[in-house]
């Protein structure tokens, strides 16, 4: 009895929505190209500087084309150790920062998805109280609570540890609220269907909620990874040892007030290396990231 019903072709987002006139498209491209140039040029210039010797950099003007010291500079920074930060290599810094950024991103996602799950799908006493409690922490960024947090970290002996770098930054009201908003759009019937199908709370979370949230998770991961990667104030406070620095802190330390004291070629290499992982994350996750922002799969 089921006649094979015809399906409409899968519609994509490949249609232009507005501005089909050629003048409009031209103008749009000009503006976009200008924007890209303005943003990209300093980065290119940094790259150029990172391939010259210190002497060349210190003797203006800096050439506009890359020099011949690419391999020397990069291997010196990555594996040799930088003098001004106690001979720690940039590779160590990259590892540190990766651990911290991943820890913050993954930790924030786990904590906030679980809190949102509890708040949306469970009826427990004080549910709204906890919701508002999370909500008001939005008004208390790290900077505001930095002294007590620092005291706690000292008391717990977490100075110069990865835990000390990660844990205080891990709770996120924003991510919790985002997940909450998403969970609220999940139809009640779906939850009930799962209950009838014998899925307990954990199964429901694992088999249904998590897969449905994956685009949201991916988008959040990108945002939070970059947030973690670029943290400045907290890592500055909570690390004393050079080998526990994150790359952003080390970069700051590498620059001396006296120009001649600064190994500018290594600073430039470190800058390039510092922006590489976030770019990599964005590029690799781009497909998911864009989907998470524009599309809900329901």
């Amino acid at each position: 009895m089921a006649e094979p019903e015809k399906l409409p072709p899968a519609s994509g987002h490949d249609k232009l929505m507005i501005g089909q006139s050629s003048a409009g498209i031209y103008l749009a491209h000009v503006v976009l190209t200008l924007g890209v140039l303005i943003v990209a040029f300093p980065i290119y210039y940094t790259f150029v500087a990172s391939t010259h010797s210190l002497q060349t950099i210190l003797r203006p003007p800096l050439p506009l084309l890359p020099g011949e010291r690419f391999f020397e500079n990069y291997s010196e920074a990555l594996f040799g150790g930088v003098g001004r930060i106690g001979g720690v290599s940039v590779a160590t810094l990259l590892v540190n920062t990766t651990i911290v950024a991943l820890g913050i991103a993954i930790g924030k996602i786990i904590i906030s998805i679980l809190s949102a799950y509890a708040i949306v799908f469970f009826r427990f006493p004080g549910r709204m109280f906890f919701f508002w409690l999370i909500f008001i922490t939005l008004m208390l960024p790290v900077e505001v609570r930095i002294l007590p947090t620092y005291k706690v970290m000292v008391d717990l002996g977490l100075i110069d540890t990865y835990a000390g770098l990660i844990v205080p930054l891990i709770a996120s009201a924003t991510a919790t609220l985002l997940f909450r908003q998403f969970f609220l759009t999940i139809p009640g019937e779906l939850v009930e269907a799962a209950r009838v199908d014998g899925a307990g709370p954990w199964r429901f979370f694992k088999d249904i909620l998590l897969p449905l949230s994956r685009t949201n998770i991916a988008a959040l991961f990108v945002i939070l990874f970059i947030y973690g990667w670029t943290q400045y104030l907290w890592p500055l406070l909570v690390t004393n040892r050079n080998d526990m620095n994150t790359i952003v802190i080390a970069l700051k330390k590498m620059i001396s007030f006296a120009d001649a004291d600064t190994e500018w070629h290594l600073v430039m290499v470190t800058s390039m290396l510092a922006i590489l992982p976030p770019i990599l994350v964005v590029v690799l996750m781009q497909r998911w990231f864009v989907r998470g922002l524009i599309e809900t799969e329901k």
Binding site: A2, A10, P187, L190, E192, A193, V196, D197
Partner: protein, 350 residues
């Protein structure tokens, strides 16, 4: 295979809304029970209490002789088909159907065999690898059915499963659901507000109003002997004509058969009323004869509805084929005595 017994079931929602106010229904094994009633009368609430998705405030619900009030939906061994199908959007059709079985720890090859045979019954085999959003509404509906059937539960629960389909497909699926239910022999409760669906599907029809059962019984019994004016006007399309009696007298009546003393409303079905243009006196004795004025005619093909006015009240006459009647015509109509229904001032049948 199971019976479902509801005894004085009540539901009071947290806000104090009394959605169901003491409902008792006994559904025998393999029967299809249809709950019908206007919007907000508590049909879904009752169904969800049977499912275990809603707590029972008072009374008891027994499945297969065992009271299940405190048991969760999983252990009740029921399957539910939702109005919006509630398919898992990220799972293929196959996994949608297999999910419930997997959660119950059914062995893999048995799951596979069951899913495939159910898919075959429902002609879903070619869709097993698709995701719900790649299906048409009708196909989704079938998958939702499949998900219920594959588990081979004690009871099927349907909450307006066809209301999102177009009229033609709805008619087709109605027949199919009935056949499936019969061949599988699974006790079922089916909620709808479509009285045609209710009439055609039900073994037992339960008409609900404002959280109470107005009448329950076989669909034809209810159609022929509605217990109240509410049931009379809810079941049947167009609904039964109801004309008020004033101290045993009906305005516009030429002859009126004997009226029970306590009756305050007289009713007759549109199809039980005939139009006589001439020779009206040849009609059997004791029939109700009315002199009516035509207000409008609605030909729908095989039959026509003639909307009339009698003594300030509106009524409908259903005549086969097409008729040569215009608005403003004066007509004589009659209805046999045995086709008349009388209701008291409380709306109950007398």
């Amino acid at each position: 295979m199971a019976t479902v017994d509801l005894k004085d079931v009540c539901k009071v929602y947290a806000g104090g809304v009394e959605a169901v106010k003491g409902v008792s229904i006994a559904i025998p094994d393999k029967a299809l029970c249809v709950l019908v009633g206007p919007s907000g009368c508590g049909k879904s609430t009752l169904l969800r209490m049977i499912a275990g998705l809603e707590t029972i405030s008072a009374g008891s619900c027994a499945i297969d002789g065992k009271v299940v009030n405190t048991i969760g939906p999983t252990e009740r061994d029921i399957a539910m088909v939702f109005q919006n199908y509630a398919l898992y959007p990220h799972m293929k059709v196959y996994d949608n159907m297999a999910y419930g079985l997997r959660n119950r720890g059914t062995p893999k090859d048995e799951i596979d065999a069951r899913v495939r045979s159910t898919a075959k019954t429902l002609e879903l085999e070619h869709l097993l690898e698709r995701r719900p959003r790649e299906l048409s509404g009708g196909q989704r509906q079938r998958v939702a059915m499949g998900r219920a059937i594959v588990r081979n539960p004690k009871v099927f629960l349907f909450d307006e499963p066809l209301s999102n389909l177009d009229a033609k497909l709805r008619g087709q699926m109605r027949v199919e659901i009935k056949n499936l239910q019969r061949s599988l022999g699974v006790t079922s409760v089916y909620v709808t507000h479509d009285q045609l669906e209710a009439m055609t599907l039900a073994d037992i029809l339960v008409v609900m109003n404002a959280g109470l059962v107005e009448q329950s019984g076989s669909p034809l019994d209810i159609y022929e002997k509605p217990a109240s004016t509410f049931v009379a006007s809810f079941i049947g399309a167009p609904p039964m004509n109801l004309l008020p009696l004033r101290s045993g007298h009906l305005e516009g009546a030429v002859t009126l058969p004997p009226v029970p003393a306590s009756a305050s409303t007289l009713g007759f079905r549109p199809e039980d009323c005939e139009i006589r243009t001439e020779g009206a006196d040849a009609v059997a004795d004791g029939a109700l004869r009315l002199l009516v004025e035509v207000e409008g005619v609605e030909p729908v093909g095989a039959e026509s509805f003639v909307y009339c006015r009698v003594g300030g009240e509106r009524m409908v006459v259903r005549v086969p084929g097409r008729v040569e009647i215009k608005p403003g015509d004066q007509l004589r109509t009659y209805a046999r005595q045995e086709k008349l229904h009388f209701f008291g001032s409380d709306g109950k049948r007398v």
